[in-house]
Amino acid sequence: MTAAIPSIALVGNPNAGKSSLFNALTGARQKIANYPGVTVERKAGHASFADGRPLSLIDLPGTYSLTPASLDEAVTRDVILGKQAGETRPDALLVVLDAANLDNHLCFALELLALNLPTVIALNMVDLAERDGLTLDAGRLSRELGVPVVPTVAVRKRGLAELLAAVDDAIRSHQPREAVAAPANDASLHQRARALARAAILTETPVRRWTQRVDNVVLHPVGGLVILVALMFVMFQAVFSWATPFADALEAGVGVLQSWVVDSFPDNFLRGLIVEGLLAGVGAVVVFLPQILILFLFILLLEASGYMTRAAFLMDGLMGRVGLSGRGFIPLLSSFACAVPGIMATRAIPDEKDRLTTILIAPLMTCSARMPVYTLIIGAFIPAQKVGGTPIGLQGLVLFGLFLSGIVGALLVAFVLRRSVTKGNATGFMMEMPRYQWPRAGDILIALWQRAWIFLRRAGTIIAGTTVVLWLLLTFPQAPAGQSQVEYSVGGRIASGLEVVVKPIGFNHDIALALIPAMAAREVAVSAMATANAIDAGDDEEAMAEALGDRIAGRWSIATALAFLAWFVFAPQCISTIAITRRETNGWKWPMFMVGYLFLLAYAAAGITYWTAVAFGLG
């Protein structure tokens, strides 16, 4: 066999279970990248036929038809038609249909069949359809459509072998079909789809009562909001309390590694670089991996279970008032993990002004990179006690307050922007509500692993790089005896210059020093302080052992700490976010605008916080 590896594209409506099928077919053998020139995520992977021949699979964004309404839907059309730059036209289409929603999903299938590519239909989630009292005749559907129809349950890996065999067959035996033109207009297309669905349905009992009962509670005009707020609150409490043992273990591990390097190598330039630069800096950031993963876990679970769309429904009223739509809720909630995927997720917002506004406020959502900063400062300054006899922790409450400040700030900014720079028509909000589903552990684990890998790669490149540069700046020139090395070094002098600007808002030399490298990524603020701390400690083992939190608790006033927290609610310190904004808005105008307004807000917020705290005697 010398033939090229066949490439098969998975296509289907949103919520057809495409991604689960893709995961089931490829396992962990997938690669996520971007389509060149656009920031639509390209998910590709490998699988093999029963006899071991490889095939490549590509998971296309879900769409309703070949007429796109958003950027990712346009990619789906272009790939299928072979018009996407750098992408070969797929050898076969694997059309994924939700068995319980045939009359709607068959519309798109009919449109795809008219393209005359080798096609196989996966009648997915047949188990859920059966649960809802729907029995289908796949054979009948196959005869009517003229292509193989294979019943599958992606999450239980049922029907996968049959599916691949059918794809193999379809490619080998493909002859241009008699052109079955798709019905010319929407109404007749729907009529044809409905007729096909009716023919394929053997028995049917009325709709899913179970989902309806849950929705009556979850979408209750008052109760639904209470549940949403409670879920968010539990999420942020969990991020703080569940992660602690894992973070402690990681921190201990970094400590062990540092002592091992100190004990095993002679005291020289390289050892200093590794212990004080790399290990202190990168280690200070890597310990936050557990928190980031817990946050992502919640977001992934909310998404996979179908709740996220309900949340969007509930929030649409509020977001509509500031000129956004419930569509923006999902990108904004993703931005709590990281603004980069959040901004990328705005592609699903059809209205251009709505989308731009959502991009501009995404950095105000408290992303996971702020967690290291918040955790450090809260841990050092806020006592770990319960609030007035309740089981609610004060530290978690402060964290919740910081998240809330970001959200309120974002809504206010959106309100102003939609009436000034991004003025436009009221936007629509049209979305399908997926049915509830039990999230599958495998799908969640694959996604979590991908996030963890992205974070660690960042820690290994951007963060390690900036930390090393910072270490060099802080180590040279060598300070004469009796003078502080950090103050005397190049880095220290730059920080002293910046200190003049930030002194009015209560920032000290430690902070000024951390702010510059933190432009690369917010969490570098913590690693920068850790590196400075390690250099300052020098050979003093006792000072070295003292945790960074304890050290700053002794050196900063509470007012300064609070001002620092307020700064990070707004400050746009993340090169990746600025870069993705430039790419998503095609130019420098909007990222520059974003950076400008966010720095202004950060400065004002930190200042007001500091002056207020000082007035209350916390200076």
Binding site: Y64, S65, T67, A69, A100, N101, D103, N104, C107, D132, L134, D186, A187, H190, V207, R208, T211, Q212, D215, L219, P221, V222, G224, L225, T309, A312, F313, L314, M315, D316, G317, L318, G320, R321, G326, P350, A426, G428, F429, M430, M431, E432, M433, R435
Partner: protein, 82 residues
């Protein structure tokens, strides 16, 4: 008796009598049709926003549930599906 969908009582099945396609953009109209919302089909309004605003409207259409804005629902004339 016809009424507008944005005012229709929740939980009662109605048939779409007429849609004023000119009241919405071409994209919005197309998305409505992709959802299967067109003249002659039957829908059940189920939920209406939250107390923050009674705006988005969730509808059951066949075995699918979709969300649209009240502004779009106001362009849809319905009659009781007796």
């Amino acid at each position: 008796m016809t009424a507008l969908l944005d005012k229709a009582p929740l939980g009662a099945r109605v048939r779409i009598a007429r849609i004023d396609w000119d009241a919405m953009s071409a994209d919005e109209g197309r998305r409505l049709r992709e959802f299967g919302l067109m003249e002659g089909c039957e829908v059940t309004p189920l939920h209406r926003g939250s107390i923050l605003s009674r705006d988005p409207l969730a509808l059951a259409i066949g075995r699918m549930k979709v969300i649209i804005r009240a502004r779009q629902a106001a362009a849809i004339e319905v009659e009781s599906a007796a």
